[in-house]
Amino acid sequence: SAVISQKPSRDICQRGTSLTIQCQVDSQVTMMFWYRQQPGQSLTLIATANQGSEATYESGFVIDKFPISRPNLTFSTLTVSNMSPEDSSIYLCSVELTVATQYFGPGTRLLVL
């Protein structure tokens, strides 16, 4: 496994503002992923972030709303832009350490008022 950290761990934000979430892993990985988990729900993939290329977004998620950076093999950021209360969720990053196996960070708990 690997040590995966996220910052911030939680935040309360006002609608219309933006929040950037950081994900750091202690080893170099090619594939990083960002998920959303709404209260009491399962995980939904937002996008796949490979180092050196543009992020690939899933249906229902767009770059303008969730811009992603992947500057190197150990770090990625997800920005939640122009937030509304509907964006209140847990945001999780994951990394693929072995083929087809993902390990998750602790999550960022976001509340939008």
Partner: protein, 115 residues
């Protein structure tokens, strides 16, 4: 569309009993199936995976069974302990363009272990 789902949303067991959490999947092209445990306030924790060409895989106190005929996956936890209380997710992993894999999660089962 393709989906991964669970039969039981909640499961309550006595400490020391064995637990069985079930999962149905619909995509026969999935290569791997993974079980995750998510405790309150934490991210999902990898428990065990099984490749699609296997029927059974055992770990420490856990066993995963895969029945491809009926597209059914189960997680068995032996001698369940209070620390096993969590939400358990099954997920299927399938190639999505080139060599990349994409995880699709089921709804989750809340396991409560009573002392």
């Amino acid at each position: 569309g393709e989906s991964v789902g669970l039969h039981l949303p909640t499961l309550s067991v006595q400490e020391g009993d064995n637990s069985i959490i079930n999962c149905a999947y619909s995509n026969s092209a999935s290569d791997y199936f993974i079980w995750y445990k998510q405790e309150s306030g934490k991210g999902p924790q990898f428990i065990i995976d099984i490749r699609s060409n296997m029927d059974k895989r055992q770990g420490q106190r856990v066993t995963v069974l895969l029945n491809k005929t009926v597209k059914h996956l189960s997680l068995q936890i032996a001698a369940t302990q209070p620390g096993d209380s969590a939400v358990y997710f099954c997920a299927e992993n399938m190639r999505s363009g080139g060599s990349n894999y994409k995880l699709t999660f089921g709804k989750g089962t809340l396991l409560t272990v009573n002392p």
